[in-house]
Amino acid sequence: MKGLAGRLRLHSHDVLLVAFVGVTLLGIAGVLGGGGRAVLPDVGGSRRVDLEALTRRIEAGELSAREALWYHAEPAERDGQGRL
């Protein structure tokens, strides 16, 4: 009785193809299982801003440095020596 490998006579390129398909399916399963949640940032985040452009446009009077309402400053974190 021949073994399965003997019957199918798998070659190296077949193994590569099977591996490629398997990895692709795993990737798809990962995305579907995650519900695509990583697309948008969660609450509480912040964004980088082009500070040079922003400062230039504030100085040119095209944008404002008006202080906002409804915020608070977080206490500064202490470094290794306990300094603020």
């Binding site: 949640r37 944008l63 404002s64 977080e74 974190e77």
Partner: protein
């Protein structure tokens, strides 16, 4: 300098020095939070009140409408994404329009109200507040068009100077808000209730997007909540989706879907359910909920006939129609 925490919206962004909040326009400079678009709108237009849409608030009135860069939501179907998904420093157009200039322009243009719209006005909160105070002092009304993603205390303060609001209720489950808008539902429901509690005239819009939020069971649940928490007289606008931004792969909402959604909302007891963005449809018009008399006939954003009495009643049965009519 440390981080600042913005307390305006439910995101409560912790913003490092030199960074912006999720909205892109509230920036931490030198340890202080700055409202960078204050006095600098990027969109200024005169619209009819019906375009907000507000159908029960000063019908046919001209409204000066302003919007800025930035938004605290990131809807994949946003109609104004060129404004809303950019920071102020990225804008080609930035007008210089301090509050007094906006009010003066509204008066010159013969407008009876100022609308804070296009992007979500919550992200230019301070500009809205100051402009609205000056507008009210000049006898102009203030109108918000918002997604209602805001914390309760800032909203209560804003309500003191706002006369009418159209709030988007974009869906009725948390997953939709998370996946399509990058936000959450609960704060929006809280805001809807706050507007009612504060006595602001409110209308609600639900944009019906094919396969995304057009499930009739969900729409019925949403309408039931609307009935129970906002009241049967609060108008609901079921608006037709047009392919936009990151949802261009979807078709426009079929008219029969809008009609069936409207039937669901009427069936749970809402008195005024309109279909929007489907010009010429009979559900653009206002009828008396008691005897069915045609009260206001509209086409698109135009008021063609207005049969309401001066005190806002049906001319036939004298039923008082909810709204602000004068």
């Amino acid at each position: 300098m440390g981080k600042v925490v913005c307390e305006l919206c439910p995101r409560r962004c912790a913003i490092p020095e030199g960074g912006a909040g999720d909205c892109r326009v509230r920036v931490n400079l030198d340890g202080r939070l700055r409202a960078t678009t204050y006095g600098h709108p990027s969109a200024v237009h005169v619209d009819p009140m019906e375009k907000k849409p507000l159908y029960h608030f000063r019908p046919g009135a001209r409204v000066l409408s302003i919007g800025t860069a930035g938004c605290n939501l990131h809807c994949r179907h946003c109609q104004n994404w060129q404004l809303s998904q950019r920071g102020g420093e990225e804008m080609e157009v930035l007008y210089e329009a301090p509050p007094e200039a906006v009010v003066a322009l509204a008066e010159v243009q013969g407008c009876r109200a100022i609308a804070y719209t296009y992007n979500d006005p919550i992200v230019f909160y301070e500009y809205v507040l100051d402009t609205a105070e000056q507008a009210r002092a000049r006898g102009l009304a203030n109108v918000l068009v918002t997604a209602g993603y805001v914390n309760r205390e800032p909203l209560r303060r804003l309500c003191a100077v706002v006369d009418a609001v159209n709030t988007d209720l974009k869906g009725f489950d948390e997953r939709f808000y998370r996946d399509v808008c990058g936000a959450s539902l609960k704060p929006v429901l809280d805001a809807l209730v706050t507007f009612r509690e504060e006595g602001v005239w409110q209308e609600v819009t639900h944009l019906v997007i094919p396969t995304v939020n057009d499930d009739l069971t969900m729409i019925r649940r949403m309408a039931r909540w609307h009935h129970d928490h906002l009241g049967a007289d609060t108008p609901l606008h079921l608006s037709r989706f047009q392919p936009m931004y990151r949802l261009r792969n979807l078709p426009p909402t079929p008219s029969e879907v809008l009609v069936r959604a409207r039937e669901e909302a009427l069936d749970v007891g809402l008195h005024h359910v309109y279909i929007g963005n489907l010009f010429g449809h009979e559900a653009e018009s206002t009828h008396c909920p008691r005897d069915g008399t045609l009260l206001i006939r509209r086409s698109g954003f135009r008021v063609l006939e207005n049969h309401l009495t001066e005190d806002g009643r049906c001319p036939v049965c004298r039923e008082r129609i909810a709204g602000v009519w004068s």
